[in-house]
């Protein structure tokens, strides 16, 4: 690939620009509040794990992570399991209204969460799911199911049709073919789709906050509550922020070559 002059410098400067704010957050999370407020230090002079300790011992904090993980996992499982057969159908067959349906799915992926906040609040209150992980998990399906369908469709289309035909000639029933042959073949695609469902549900705040009040409060909502409270606990806030970055940072290495693809709905 042909590159431009001074590319190393540009790259390094840009990467520093990306990392500096994150470093500052990590830096803050290891400081005591007195150090944060009274002095300007580039690294923690009296490093402390107090902030993290409080999050892991105070139930009102760590329950936020558990709540978030619960609805994110429910959502990922629902999204992938309903999207898999649909992706196969879109990839292999033409049927009445397929193009319109595909577009309709995309339009839901792009719909502003703010539009749905109020009707979702009414809907899930009416069916007694308000303030449960299920409400948030189902609400997040509106953008994650279309996303999973679009990504998986790309991967299924990468599997040659001959494989289906051979399997059916060999006497495989459709469900058996699906589970035994197709799913293993697109395992990496399922991994990528699951990762993106996980991430998009994990980063969303507005719907998660609107649909919960006490019992299922996600970590993001707990964090904003602390922001508005008087007497800001910056160290604690920073530590909570660092912990939310960790799930993404852990898997990022495995999906690094698929990031562009996932964000472009499998179309790159």
């Amino acid at each position: 690939m042909n590159s431009i002059p001074g590319r190393r410098i540009i790259m390094v400067v840009f990467l520093i620009f990306l990392l500096l704010p994150i470093y500052w957050l990590v830096n803050m999370s290891f400081k005591t509040n007195t150090e944060i407020v009274t002095t300007m230090t580039l690294w923690p002079h009296q490093p402390t794990l107090e902030n993290y300790k409080r999050i892991f011992t105070d139930e009102s904090w760590y329950s936020g992570y558990i709540n978030s993980l619960t609805y994110v996992l429910i959502n990922t499982v629902i999204s992938i399991s309903v999207a898999l057969p649909a992706a196969y159908a879109f990839s292999r067959y033409r049927f009445l209204g397929d193009k319109h349906l595909f577009f309709w799915l995309l339009s839901n992926r792009m719909a502003p969460a703010a539009v749905f906040a109020l009707p979702f609040f009414n809907l899930y209150s009416a069916i007694n799911l308000f303030d449960t992980p299920w409400a948030v998990a189902l609400a997040h399906c509106i953008f994650n199911v279309p996303l999973a369908v679009w990504i998986l469709e790309g991967f299924v289309s990468g599997v040659p049709r001959e494989i289906d035909e051979t399997a059916f000639l060999d006497g495989y029933s459709f469900p058996r073919f699906f589970v035994k042959i197709l799913v293993p073949l697109i395992a990496s695609g399922i991994g990528v789709a699951a990762f993106f469902c996980f991430m998009f549900s994990w980063v969303e705040l507005l719907l998660a906050r609107t649909l919960t009040s006490v019992n299922a409060k996600p970590i993001s909502a707990i964090m904003t509550r602390t922001v508005s409270a008087a007497g800001m606990d910056w160290g604690l806030l920073a530590a909570a922020g660092v912990l939310t970055i960790i799930p993404g940072a852990l898997v990022i290495w495995f999906v690094r070559n698929y990031i562009a693809r996932g964000f472009a709905l499998g179309r790159v």
Partner: protein, 300 residues
């Protein structure tokens, strides 16, 4: 890509249809219903026809004024971040190392901001930008620049824009990088033999090859910035005054803050309609690009 016609495929699509219909059509129907009515509390509703829509599009009313002002701000915001992120993303993509372990490291660091929860992105910049405890705010102020995003409109805008550039430029860069990678080496060798300049290579080889991904990037960035909510909400709360109140923030204020169902619903529908139109352009572009170069599709 010859697909067989099979109406039974609908059975495979049915679960998706059911789930999405439950969370899209049902709520949208409520919105349409609300948008035509007025309520005085106690669950009493009155028919209001297109009244809310008239008010919404008339800048002299309170609702219309707020909507059109936030729409203007939002379009300005989208225009600015596109003007910065697209060229910057291209430059970063062109600056990617060619091979070796540095490629992986660059990819990982580039992807990092994309995977941070949006409210934490807000928190990061809130902490980073504060004049008393943030590195950025502190440095700017000690350089003699009076910077405070809480009280100064310009600073608030600058912070929100830099934050978005920080958050999303990587996406443009990664998409462009994916486009650049698909260019065969032979093209560059041919250019070298012809003695093409660096700029000529960019214009004649790299830019055309990036056309499609750039289009995707622009549309994605437009749509996401057009419905931005969490990041500016955490950093500025829409302030100072209303200077960073974008459409989503205004909508949530009306819907969940004031519980003004009719107004919020009318706003939602108009908002959704704009998104739908952009979406349709996006879809047409994607599917057309797919038929032009069918060999790209599904290249896992």
């Amino acid at each position: 890509m010859d697909k067989t016609v099979n109406q039974k495929a609908w059975f495979l699509v049915l679960p998706v249809f059911a789930v999405v219909a439950f969370s899209a059509i049902l709520p949208l129907m409520t919105v349409v219903n609300y948008s035509m009515q007025d309520t005085f509390g106690n669950n009493q509703f009155f028919w209001n026809g297109v009244g809310w829509f008239k008010e919404l599009l008339d800048p002299s009313t309170d609702l219309g004024g707020r909507f059109l002002a936030s729409l203007g701000r939002n379009l300005l915001f989208s225009a600015i971040i596109l003007a910065i992120e697209v060229p910057l993303g291209i430059v970063v993509a062109l600056s990617m190392p060619r091979e070796g372990w540095t490629v992986a490291v660059c990819l990982v660091i580039l992807a990092l901001p994309l995977l941070i929860p949006w409210n934490v992105v807000g928190t990061i910049w809130q902490i980073f930008g504060r004049p008393d405890i943030g590195l950025l705010g502190y440095t700017l102020n000690s350089l003699g620049i009076d910077y405070n995003y809480v009280s100064n409109e310009f600073d608030a805008w600058a912070t929100v824009i830099v934050m978005d550039v920080w958050h999303w430029t990587s996406l443009v860069a990664l998409l462009c990088y994916a486009g650049l990678k698909s260019i065969p080496d032979a093209y560059y060798q041919a250019a070298q033999i012809d003695g093409a300049s660096r700029w000529a290579v960019f214009k004649a080889i790299q830019l055309p090859k990036m056309n499609r991904v750039l289009l995707i990037a622009v549309l994605l960035r437009f749509m996401d910035s057009f419905m931005i909510y969490t990041e500016p909400f955490v950093v500025t709360g829409g302030g100072p005054g209303n200077s960073t109140t974008f459409v989503s923030i205004e909508l949530v204020k009306i819907a969940l803050g004031q519980f003004d169902l009719g107004k919020a619903a009318a706003l939602s529908l108009v908002y959704n309609l704009i998104i739908l139109i952009v979406c349709w352009i996006f879809y047409t572009v994607m599917t057309n690009a797919g038929t032009e170069r069918p060999e790209k599709k599904g290249a896992a």
